[in-house]
Amino acid sequence: MSETSDILATAAAWREAGEEVAIATVTQTWGSSPRPAGSQLAVTRSGRMAGSVSGGCIEGAVADAAMTTLDSGVPALLDFGITDERAWEVGLACGGKLKVFVERLA
């Protein structure tokens, strides 16, 4: 019972078709984060998206970070939470906290 497999398969199919693809994965959660560790979001340079890493609160910020990772090839570990005042000033309405790893599908 895992939907993650499908996101990875979708990402691989996009890559195969010549798209530039980044994968974001929830690596750790605290409190009432809506999606468990392992949840994934695939994003392409052209703007296609599959899956999710939250209830929709942080997907936009993650997609932005994905573009940076696609540009640089350097993965990123992002922190999201209500008290976060650093680069990713996006809150979670649920009050949860989570970390998201963003990587390029080479």
Partner: protein, 225 residues
């Protein structure tokens, strides 16, 4: 993720081999586990992630690793290619469950009625012999016909299947338990059978009954109280 890692991961998943994708954080170096060539503490953590079917971050000797557990999908063996099965099967597929439909009656067990799933035309006892239900398997009987349901339940009770369900009224179920008792199954074993199958949501239509069965299946799978 490198193409090599993706290919290896895809290969393991296609072969339904449990595997963990380990990612070093924040650097992103990746490997598949278990691997006899790496630190045993990592392998131990990977096996734990697989047995719990739970991904997460672990810290080993000062390094953070994200362990992504890719367990093979749980299996659901549906005995009876009946109307309710036609609702149950696509819903189960949505839940990421690997579904196998068993029914020796050729007119029921057609790929036209059940596209995109494995359909077996064997007798249930023979099918169960081949499928060998394990602790990640569930068995649900839907035929109402003792000739088909009973052998499947008999075999399921001899397996480690984590969920066994049988469709039928309380009366039907009581008679069914009597027959299975005659085959030598004790009360503890018989208590493993969910019958009448499904959560009581007063379901009426085939899709509603399918929903009640899958709701119960999920509650057992996720260890709900």
């Amino acid at each position: 993720m490198t193409p090599e890692t993706l290919a290896a991961l895809t290969e393991a998943r296609t072969a339904k081999r449990p595997v963990v994708l380990a990612t070093q954080l924040p650097g992103g170096m990746q490997m598949l586990l278990p691997d006899p060539g790496v630190n045993e503490a990592l392998n131990v953590a990977a096996r734990r992630a697989l047995s719990r079917d739970e991904s997460g971050t672990v810290s080993i000797e000062g390094t953070d690793w994200f362990l992504h557990a890719y367990s093979p999908p749980v299996r659901l063996i549906v005995v009876g290619a009946v109307h309710i099965a036609q609702s149950l099967v696509p819903m189960a597929a949505q839940l990421g469950i690997d579904v196998i439909v068993v029914d020796p009656r050729r007119s029921f067990a057609t790929t036209e009625r059940f596209p995109n799933v494995t359909v077996m035309g064997d007798w249930p006892d023979e099918a169960m012999e081949v499928l060998k239900p394990d602790s990640r398997s569930a068995v649900i009987t839907l035929t109402h016909d003792p000739k088909l349901d009973d052998p499947a339940l008999d075999r399921a009770l001899q397996s480690d299947a984590f969920y066994i369900g049988a469709l039928g009224s309380r009366k039907t179920h009581a008679r069914r338990l009597d027959r299975l008792r005659e085959l030598g199954h004790g009360d503890d074993a018989l208590a493993r059978i969910r019958g009448p199958v499904g959560l009581n949501i007063a379901a009426v239509t085939a899709p509603e009954i399918a929903l009640s069965i899958l709701a119960e299946f999920v509650s057992v799978r996720r260890n709900a109280a």
